[in-house]
Structures are given as C-alpha cells and as structure tokens.
C-alpha cells in the first residue's frame, strides 16, 4: 500500500540532478543508462557480443539494463516510502497553519497601565503579517495566530493539533507555562500574547519541514559512512576500469555489460540505496513518539550520550510526597496520632494531605468532617490544621514551627520530648523522607506532641531496572534535586541512580554539565523553565518540555510534545538504533560481495580459463545466468531490506561486546551466507529462460 503511493515519487527521483546526491546509486544510474544504450545499439552493431570468450544470449544486455533500472527504482522507492510516512503528518499540521485572523494591538502596548489591552486599539490582520514582537489578543474560541509568550492572562488551550493530546492545558502569563504555539485553540478566557517567531519560522513550520524530511541534514556519522562508501566505490570503479586492459593481454576482454554488472554488484548498493531512508525513518520514529528533533545531529548525539541528567520530581519520583508511616512518640497510642493527623488534614487540599487521610483509613481510622475551623498553610506559620468546636486545636507542620506554636504560652516543652522528636525527624530525613510533626492543644490538658508523619518521595516503579540497563549501555545517570543532600542521597540510593546533585540551582546544573563535558562525556538533560535554558543549550542533547517556556524550547535541540521527562531514555535508544541500522546494512552489503564474486568472476573468464570452473562453487547454470542472477539478487535484496531500514534494527541493552557479536553474526556472517543461497535460487529460475 505504502509502496503504491510512493511509486510516483520513486520515478520522479530518477532525475540525474537528484540521483547525483547519492554517489553510489548515481553509479548504478549511469550503468543503467549505458546498458540501455548498448541494448538498443547492439542489433545495429552486429548482434549481441560474447564476453570473456563465452557467448551470451541476445536478451542478456536487455535483462541487465532492466534490472539495473529496477535497482535504481527500488532505492528511490525506499526513500519515497520513508518520506511518505511523514507526509500525512505534515498534511494535518499544515491545516493548522492555514491563515487565521489575528487581533493585533496597534500602536504602543502599555504593559503597566493596560496589561490586559482592554483599552488598546485592536486591528484585524492576517496571521501571516505578524512580525516578531507584535502583541495580539486572543479570546475564547479563537486560534492562536503565532508562537509566542503570554504576557497577560490565563487560559485553557487545546493543543491537540500539535500533541495529539485531547485534554486542554492551562497556559498563563509569567513563569514556566507561558509559551503558546500557533495553530492551537484557546478554549476559555482571554489572553494577550507577544509573538516570538518570524512568519515561516514558527514551531509548526519547523515541524512540517522535519517530518517531511526536507530539513534533514546529514549527521556526522552518516557523512563519515558516505565517505567510506564512496572510497569503496572508487576502488571498485578502478577494479572494473582496469580489468579489460589487463584481460586483453592475458585472456580476452569482457563485454561492457558484464563489466557494469560486476561494478554494480561490488559497490555497496544495499546500504547506498537505503542510507537516506534509514535517516528519515529514524527522525520519523522520534516524531511518532511525539519528540521533535531540531537537528539530526542531536538524534545521533543521543545515541552517544554518556551522562543523563534527570530531574528528581516527575522523572524519578512521582510529583508529590505521600505519607508512608505514623511514628507516635512514647506513651501515645498509634490510633491517637493517626486520628489527629487525619483530622488536621481533612480540609488540606494538597496531595500530601489527602495521602495522610488515606493512610489513616488504611490503618482503620476513619474520620468524618465534623465542622470546626480550618487553619490553612501559610509561609509564615509553616503549618496547617483544624480548630474543633470544643476548643481543641490540631496542627501539623515542620518541627520548629510546631515547637514554637506549642511554646507560645511561655512553658517550654520537656527536653526529653524535644530530643525524641529530633531523633525521629533526623531518622526520617536520613531515609529520604520529610517529617511532619503533629501536635494537639486541648482545653485543660498541657499541649502535647503526638508524633510524626513520615512523608516520602515515591520512586516510580521499575526505574532501578532501567537505570541498571542504562549502566550496562555505558550511561551514567545523575539525579538533580532541590532537596538537601541527606534526602537526595537516600532517594538516589532507592532509585538506583549513579550520582546526585542536591540543592541544585540552575547555575549548579550548568557547572555540572560543563564538568562532565570537560571529562569528555556527552550530556543529555530535560528542562522546561527559562532558568533551564542555559543548561539546555550547553547540554549535547537538551530536551525541552512542550509545556515549558519558549526560551527553554529555543535553547534545547529537541522538544518533547508529551512533556514526559522519562522519554530521554527512549531518545537514547532511538539514537543508537539509527547507528546500528546503518552499521548492520553496511556490513551486510559488503559481506554480500564475497558471494557475488564467486558468481561473476568465474562467469567472466570461464570461456578462456575452464579451470576457473572450480570457483563456481554455487554450480550456477551458465555465465550469462550467473551474472544476471547476481544483479537480480542485488536489486531484490534492497526491497527485502526496506522494512528493516524503516523499522530499524532491534536494539537490546547489552554490553558493547555482546551487541557487536550479535550484530556481526546476524549481518556479517548472515551477509556472507544469504547471497550464496539467494543467487543460487534465482539462478534456478533464470536458467529456465531460453538462451540463458
């Protein structure tokens, strides 16, 4: 199906100006032109030639010409199919780009007195006319006319056109969620947006170019490989060109058709034909995972990454802490502590509060809302709680805050209690948790600390295994967190990361990246905030979250539309897969030459030197059928390998040695054996053609 739609593209690519970009296939193209000319001329020049002392049937040159054209076409087809996959996606993106009308603020936009642009003069212009720095107003139901940052307001935005995610997201001015993308729709409220991209250079424009493969630049490894393939091709061209002068002395010259056939069989056509398809398909695999790579270089660098910087929150742990245990002080009933803690958290809307109620419920303590006054958390008091109608006050919060609350009436707490609390909080901190002290003031009773709630960062399941996998691939993971070193160390240990950076500021991150790079490491990181931008730009692979600011997106070389930081690991995988696929097909292509030699060389000179028949180890029918079979195999193998090129070689996280052994066995040894079998089978069919 894909093949059918790609077929016209394959023919269009026969244009020599396009063919020229791929030197290996250009040689085949020239060979096809030459043999076709020969096939046409032969009847006028006295019939089909004999070659190397053996007569060949009249249809020989024609058959070779046809199969050479097919070889070129198959290569073009592979590229066209790879490009075709991106085309559909580009089409749907293009729709979002269709010109919309924008309400542009004319004249001066006054950010201080009229931030909402309520009184400003608005002018309806086409979105194509928007320039960098223009300010537009977008109301509910309208499409955002271009990429920009919200300077005023908050709105829910439907970004499904870009991310495919149907749930709307909240975008607001200031902070790390201020970036909006052109072509997305505002669902509610009204926002003022400052345009940050030039026309034609918007995010969507770049995305279209990327998925269509138009913006694809060759990566360093691809360039190096092309050079190696070109060098091999030059050697084989020399071999072919020098063969006849030498043969003319010692044997009899070979026909030009056979020489071309030899040349085409020897040059690495398999990898030459599929090289660009592999690259395009690699980018496409990223796009399918909703990652946009701004350059192919970044994708390749991802495969080489040796250090991964991962943010703790959201990547290694779930976003929120959860209560994991109640630690009552000596002489307090466990039930008493959990009841008080649950009551104090009843009206607490944070996930931490909810998790305390949940944990109490799990321990069989059910509390129901019974009125009373909620004391919310403030930055000053650093605690929250509930005042019951009977005068009982319940509080939970940081240890020092609770102590000073209890000692507010002048009576100090017994030092034994303070020592006990400190011992527990210390212990909890050391294990990576956050201690939450619970206290009670009831009328007629001295104020009392009941115990401590152990809040814990929950490490995502299966991460330790993934990090171990990364380690075996030679990748070191470093956790970045704002936590204190004690907590950070504990979480790092639980998650199984190799190292951590505690109390990290954006500057610390930058310093860490520089230090790693000085040691020759390649660093990958994710980030979303504007203050991440320098680090994102410094990292070899910087993945910006789509929810992040436009500064972050500008600085990174990839954007993750799903804003999922764990995807970094997938990106590394895809980068490696890309390289392996190229390496595998190169090895296969060159290994194939051995069998092709055993098919063609005896066929070339058996007429003069019958002794060379011992080299015909495949027992091919006749010299003509041997040469044709080799050419047919050479063409068909391209088609057979297209799925592999598009899908990529399966990547397993094994050590370098094991991976190499495996791939050498499959593509090296397999590449030697496969053509022996293939050419023999094709020869069995070809030998049925009269004359061959």
């Amino acid at each position: 199906m894909q093949l059918v739609t790609a077929a016209p593209g394959a023919f269009r690519k026969l244009d020599p100006r396009q063919q020229w970009r791929n030197p290996v296939m250009f040689i085949v193209w020239v060979g096809a032109v030459l043999t076709t000319a020969l096939a046409i001329a032969e009847p006028f020049l006295g019939g089909p030639a004999s070659s190397g002392g053996t007569a060949v049937p009249w249809s020989f040159t024609w058959a070779i010409a046809v199969w050479l054209w097919l070889t070129v076409l198959f290569a073009n087809l592979a590229e066209a199919v790879a490009e075709g996959r991106g085309k559909a996606q580009a089409e749907s993106l293009r729709k979002t780009r269709s010109t919309t009308t924008a309400s542009r603020v004319t004249g001066h936009y006054d950010a201080v007195t009229d931030a909402g642009a309520e009184r400003a003069l608005l002018q309806a212009v086409s979105s194509a006319e928007l320039r960098l720095g223009d300010v537009v107003v977008v109301s509910a139901g309208e499409l955002i006319p271009g990429d920009g940052d919200i300077v005023w307001g908050i709105a829910s935005v439907d970004e499904s056109a870009i991310t495919g995610e149907s749930a709307p997201v909240i975008r607001e001015s200031g902070g790390d969620r201020s970036a909006v993308t052109g072509g997305t729709r505002v669902l509610s409220d009204r926002i003022v947006v400052r345009i940050t991209s030039r026309p034609g250079e918007t995010f969507v424009d770049r995305m279209i170019a990327l998925v269509e493969g138009a913006a694809r630049q060759k990566t360093p490894n691809e360039i190096a490989l092309s050079i190696l393939l070109a060098a091999l091709s030059i050697i084989f061209v020399t071999v072919a060109l020098t063969l006849n002068p030498i043969a003319s002395y010692a044997a009899s010259p070979v026909s030009i058709t056979v020489l071309i056939a030899l040349l085409v069989c020897l040059i690495p056509t398999t990898i030459g034909a599929l090289l660009s398809a592999i690259g395009i398909a690699g980018m496409d695999r990223l796009v399918q995972r909703n990652v946009l790579a701004m350059s192919g270089r970044a994708v390749e660098a991802a495969g080489d990454v040796t250090t991964l910087l991962l943010d703790k929150t959201g990547t290694i742990t779930y976003g929120n802490r959860r209560a994991s245990a109640f630690v009552p002080l000596a002489g307090i009933q466990p039930g008493e502590l959990s009841r008080a803690a649950a009551l104090a958290s009843l009206a607490d809307p944070t996930p931490e509060g909810a998790s305390i109620v949940e944990l109490a419920g799990a321990e069989g303590v059910e509390v129901t809302p019974s009125g009373g006054e909620v004391v919310p958390f403030t930055a000053q008091t650093r605690m929250s709680g509930l005042d019951l109608s009977d005068g009982t006050q319940l509080r939970k919060g940081a240890g020092s805050a609770i102590t000073s609350w209890l000692e507010a009436d002048g009576r100090p707490l017994p030092s034994s209690v303070i020592a006990e609390v400190e011992e527990h909080t210390e212990h909890i901190s050391r294990s990576g948790g956050t201690p939450l002290v619970v206290a009670i003031k009831a009328p007629g009773v001295p104020p009392q600390i009941l115990g401590i709630v152990h809040l814990k960062d929950i490490v995502k399941d299966g991460l330790a295994d993934r990090f171990a996998e990364l380690r075996s691939m030679g990748i070191r993971t470093v956790m970045i967190t704002g936590d204190n070193p004690l907590t950070a160390a504990a979480i790092a240990k639980e998650a199984g990361v190799d190292d951590y950076l505690a109390e990290a500021t954006p500057e610390d991150k930058l310093v860490l990246i520089r230090k790693e790079q000085d040691g020759g490491n390649l660093v990958a990181m994710t980030g979303d905030g504007t203050n991440d931008a320098p680090a994102l730009a410094q990292a070899d692979v910087g993945v910006a979250m789509n929810t992040g600011t436009s500064a972050a997106k500008e600085a990174g070389n990839m954007v993750d539309l799903d804003s999922d930081p764990t995807k970094l690991i997938d990106i590394v995988r895809i980068g490696k897969q890309l390289l392996i696929t190229r390496g595998a097909l190169t090895t296969f292509s060159i290994a194939n030459d051995i069998a092709k030699y055993f098919a063609i060389i005896p066929a070339m000179f058996m007429g003069v030197f019958p002794g060379l028949a011992v080299l015909n180890i495949m027992g091919l029918h006749s010299p003509a059928s041997a040469v044709l079979s080799a050419i047919i195999f050479n063409a068909i193998i391209i088609v057979l390998l297209v799925p592999l090129a598009l899908r990529g070689v399966k990547y397993r996280a094994l050590s370098a040695s094991k991976t190499l052994n495996r791939n050498l066995l499959i593509y090296g040894v397999g590449g030697i054996i496969a053509p022996f079998v293939g050419i023999k089978l094709i020869d069995l069919v070809v030998s049925l053609i009269p004359g061959f």
């Binding site: 360093p220 360039i223 190096a224 490989l225 050079i227 070109a230 060098a231 050697i235 084989f236 020399t238 071999v239 060109l241 020098t242 063969l243 002068p245 030498i246 043969a247 003319s248 002395y249 010692a250 044997a251 030899l262 020897l266 495969g303 040796t306 380690r471 075996s472 030679g474 070191r476 040691g519 020759g520 490491n521 490696k576 890309l578 390289l579 392996i580 190229r582 390496g583 595998a584 190169t586 090895t587 060159i590 030459d593 051995i594 030699y597 005896p602 000179f605 003069v608 030197f609 002794g611 060379l612 011992v614 080299l615 990547y651 050590s655 370098a656 040695s657 190499l660 791939n663 050498l664």
Partner: protein, 557 residues
C-alpha cells in the same frame, strides 16, 4: 617430516621474538619519549641547522619528512649520474637518467626495487654514500611517522605531534645503528664478506676465467634487512652465498627483518599506556604472518608437475642450502615486512605459490609490515574496523579514546584507496597504451601469457607497497617501467605518509573520551578477529578479479 621442520623453524623465530620484543619495544618507547638529547645528536641538529627543541604541528612535521626525502632523492640521483667521476666507482659508468631516477626513488621510498644489477652497475661510493645512507634514514622516516601517529592517540588537545628531526635522528642513532652493528658482526661470523677488493679474476677448474666481485657486503646486508629495505649488494640478493652463506645465517636474516616490525606494537602499547592494545595489533600481524607462511609452505611442498616430482620438491629457483622451508620462511618474511629481499626466485614458485608473496604485499604491508609503515598501516585499518564496529554497537566510534568522525574516516579511506589504484592503473596502463604495450610485451615480459601478466602485476604491487621484490622474469630496466615504477614507489610511500600525519594531527587535537561500559574494548579477541577480517576482506575484494587473470588462472588450469 617437512611439517615438523616448518614448525620448528617458526617456533625458533617466535621464541626469539618473544624474548626480544619486550626489551626492544620498551627501549624504542623510551627513545621516542626521552626528554634529553645525546651530545652527538645535538651536534647533528646544529650541523643540519634544525630546531629540535620545539614540537611541530603535523604540517611542519610533514614538511620535514618531504623536504628531507626530496633532498635524499636528489642526492642519490646526483651521485649516480656523476658516478664516472667519483672515487671507488670500479670504473662503472653512470646509469641512464630513468634508471637513476628509479633507483633514487626506490631507496628514498624504503622500497629498494632494483632495476639495476647490483654489483655490475654501482660502485662503492654510490652504494655507501647513496644507498646505505638511505637504507638507514628511509627506515627511520617510516618509524618516525608511525610514532607521530601514535602520539596522535596519546596527546590531548594538542596542536603538535612531536619533532620530526629528533624522531629521525634518534631512530637512526639509538635504534638502527646499534642493532645493525650487532647484526653485522653476527653475519660476519656466519661468513658474509666485508672487503673493498673490487673484482677478483680467477681461473675455474674447467679452465674458464671468472670475475668474482667483493665488497662491503655485511654492513650493507644487515641494514638492508633491519630497515626492511631489501636492496641487495648483489643482483641475486640473499640467494647469493656472499650475502647469505648458510641455513643459519638465513634464520638470522629472517630475524633481522622481523625484529623491529614485531617490536613496534609493544612500543605502541607502551606509549598509549595500555600494553594490551599493542598486543592486539601484534596478534593480528602474527596471525596473518603465520597463515601466509603455512599456506605458502603447503603449496610449495605439494608442488605438482613432473620436474618437482623428480627433484623431490618444487626446487626451481630455490637454493639447495635453504630448501623449501628456508625459502618460504624467507619469502613470507620478506614480502610480509616490505623488505623485498629474496633468497629464492618468486617468479619460479608454483603458480599459486607465487600468488602468496603477492598477497602479502597486497594486504598493504601490515603482516607485520615495514619498519613503522606496518604499524601505521594497521592502525589506519583499525580506524576503519573501529568505525564499522562502532556503528554496529550504536555509538559514534572511538579508538583509544579518540572519536572517529568524518575527517578521520576521510583520511583513512583515502589511505586505503592509494595503493590499489596505483597497482591496478599501473598494471592496466602497461597494457592499455599501444606503444607501451608493445615494449612491455616484447622487451620486458619473459614469459608471455598469464604468467607475463603476473610479472607486471607483481612489479606494480611491489612498487606501490614499497616492497622491492620482483617476479624476476620481468626486465624492468626500460624507460616506461623505470619511470612508472619509480612514481608508484614515491606516491605509494609519500601520499599515505601525508594522510597518516594529517590523521595524527586530527587525533592529537581531540580530547580523550573516557571509556565506559558502552565502549568497545579494542584489545579482546573479538576486535582482533574483526580487524583481521577487515584487512583480508579489503584486499580480497580489491584484487580477486586481477588475481584470477594471473596466478589463479595459471594455477587452476
């Protein structure tokens, strides 16, 4: 029985090398990295007016190599053209322009292809002041270039790759001269001659008159072998009893050829700080060498045909005192090391047997190759092997902590292009240009047909690989062959050197990437196997067609 003898011979060689390679390899590492200059060395630097203190960029290093070699070329050419006026010329006239060019190119390019007939063309002055000097310094140049490439791997973020003049002078004075002195004494003890007698006229038993040449043979002989040069004092080279009198001097000569090429990997391992890397290279060289020796010995021992059966072996062109195994060991060594000395006539080997020395050269002289050139040749192939392996494991390839990127691959690819193009186009042009073809087929080729083609192919293979041995049936002293073979020698020597030094510069400029679990270890059997296969495959794919027209066609008839 023959096999036991072959194994014993090989074991003797292996044992000697096993003992000697460590101290010699370590010593050479010290020579090239020691900070202090010897007094005599400082004198030489002052004499030739070079700055030996500062390190050079790769371009400056290259300019040194090229300028030094160009001066050498002019000097050897001039000495030959002026021979008539020189003392101790033994009354010999100046060789023709094209022959002088060929000889000059040949000795400056560490090839020692001899279109001339040793004792009958050149007098003592040219032999000493021209050829013997080049025997030393052309070898030292090869070693210097190899060391410069090794520095590319060891230096970090450096704009320089060492100092050519120090490398050249130290290689000559601290390595080649002392070993040559010891070797010459051993050869003298073995019966190799050393005199200035000129020609001695004697009457033979049958009453005929014979003119027996003398000369300073031992001193020439030792550096001919040690520096993997190969140009003999006598036309018949090491088959001549004055050069190689007995079976045991034969073994000594084999060892002299092998000792530096097989010790340099140890030097390499020492300098890069990981001896295992050196041993990996050493094993690849050793495997190819042993395989080649085994195949050649098997073919020659099983030589078919009436004459060999009557003679009890394929003894045509071999010396009775060396026998088949003494000959095949010497041939394998000589063609495997780019020496090109012969103690038996390769042209007279069986058809398939003659292909093996040719294949040894076609490998690009890496088994173990010439002094220096063998090491840098194999390191370039290692760069290619690492690149393919790197792709297969999904990482930008790196070798010894240096990334192999587009620039490195470009240089390595060009390196492997040079030799096949020179060999194939040289051979093809000899048959393609009408006037030349007539001359080549009527004057040069002794055996018409397939074997004649092999002779021409062998000549260009030998020249482009800087070997110097020949299928001696070919008369090479013609304008066409003298000039083209001379050019093949110069291009085959200096174009790769340009590329290797550029590669060294490019590697030295890089920082070192630390090894992780994801880095491919390049000292394990796996990589050794891969490198061996890459080396053989590149050669096989390039030369299979032309070999089928030569030795294969002849041998499979």
């Amino acid at each position: 029985m023959g096999w036991l003898f072959a194994i014993a011979a090989l074991a003797t060689v292996a044992l000697f090398l096993a003992v000697v390679h460590r101290p010699l390899g370590d010593y050479m590492a010290w020579v090239y990295s020691a900070p202090k200059h010897w007094k005599i060395e400082r004198g030489i630097y002052r004499l030739i007016g070079v700055d030996a203190k500062s390190e050079q960029t790769w371009q400056a290093y290259l300019r040194g190599v090229l300028a030094f070699s160009a001066v050498g070329l002019l000097l050897v050419y001039g000495l030959q053209r002026l021979q008539w006026w020189l003392p101790y010329s033994l009354g010999l006239p100046a060789p023709s322009e094209h022959l002088s060019f060929n000889t000059a190119a040949s000795f400056v390019g560490n090839t020692n292809w001899q279109s001339y007939s040793g004792e009958l063309t050149l007098g003592y002055t040219v032999q000493f002041a021209g050829l013997a000097v080049q025997n030393f310094v052309s070898a030292a140049v090869g070693m210097a270039v190899a060391i410069a490439l090794v520095r590319g791997f060891t230096y970090r973020r450096s704009g320089t790759i060492g100092n050519f003049w120090t490398d050249l002078v130290r290689g000559t004075i601290r390595i080649l001269l002392p070993i040559a002195a010891i070797g010459a004494i051993v050869l003298l003890a073995g019966g190799v001659i050393q005199n200035f007698n000129g020609f001695t006229e004697v009457s033979t038993l049958t009453g005929g008159a014979q003119s027996i040449p003398g000369g300073p043979v031992a001193s020439q002989e030792v550096i001919k072998l040690l520096g993997t040069n190969g140009g003999g004092f006598f036309n018949t080279n090491s088959a001549h009893p004055f050069e190689n009198p007995t079976a045991w001097t034969n073994v000594v000569e084999v060892l002299l050829m092998l000792v530096i090429p097989f010790s340099l990997p140890r030097t390499f391992g020492r300098l890069v700080g990981d001896k295992r890397q050196g041993y990996a290279i050493l094993v690849v060289m050793g495997v190819l060498f042993v395989a080649s020796f085994a195949i050649l010995t098997a073919i020659e021992s099983g030589g078919m045909g009436t004459a060999p059966q009557l003679a009890g072996g394929a003894m045509e062109g071999k010396e009775q005192r060396f026998g088949i195994i003494g000959s095949t060991l010497f041939s394998t060594t000589s063609t495997g090391t780019s020496t090109g000395a012969v103690n038996a006539m390769h042209d007279s080997y069986t058809a398939l047997g003659g292909m093996i020395p040719m294949l040894n050269m076609m490998l690009g002289e890496v088994a173990p190759g010439g002094v220096g050139s063998g090491l840098y040749g194999l390191l370039v192939l290692a760069v290619i092997a690492v690149f393919v392996a790197g792709l297969l494991i999904g990482r930008t390839p790196e070798y010894l902590g240096k990334k192999i990127g587009p620039r490195e691959i470009k240089l390595a690819s060009l390196y492997i292009l040079v030799m096949p193009i020179l060999v194939l186009t040289g051979t093809a042009l000899s048959f393609a240009i009408p006037g030349v073809r007539d001359e080549v087929t009527s004057v040069s080729i002794w055996n018409p047909g397939v074997h004649g083609m092999s002779e021409v192919l062998y000549a260009f293979t030998s020249a482009a690989n800087n070997n110097g041995s020949a299928f001696a049936g070919l008369t090479a002293n013609t304008p066409w062959l003298n000039v083209t073979l001379g050019l093949a020698i110069l291009l085959g020597r200096f174009v790769p050197i340009v590329l290797v030094l550029a590669l060294a510069g490019s590697l030295a400029a890089q920082d070192k990437v630390p090894a992780t679990a994801g880095t491919l270890p390049t000292h394990r059997p796996q990589f050794i196997g891969l490198l061996t296969v890459v080396t053989v495959l590149v050669t096989a794919l390039t030369f299979f067609p032309v070999l089928t027209l030569g030795p294969l066609a002849e041998g499979l008839l």
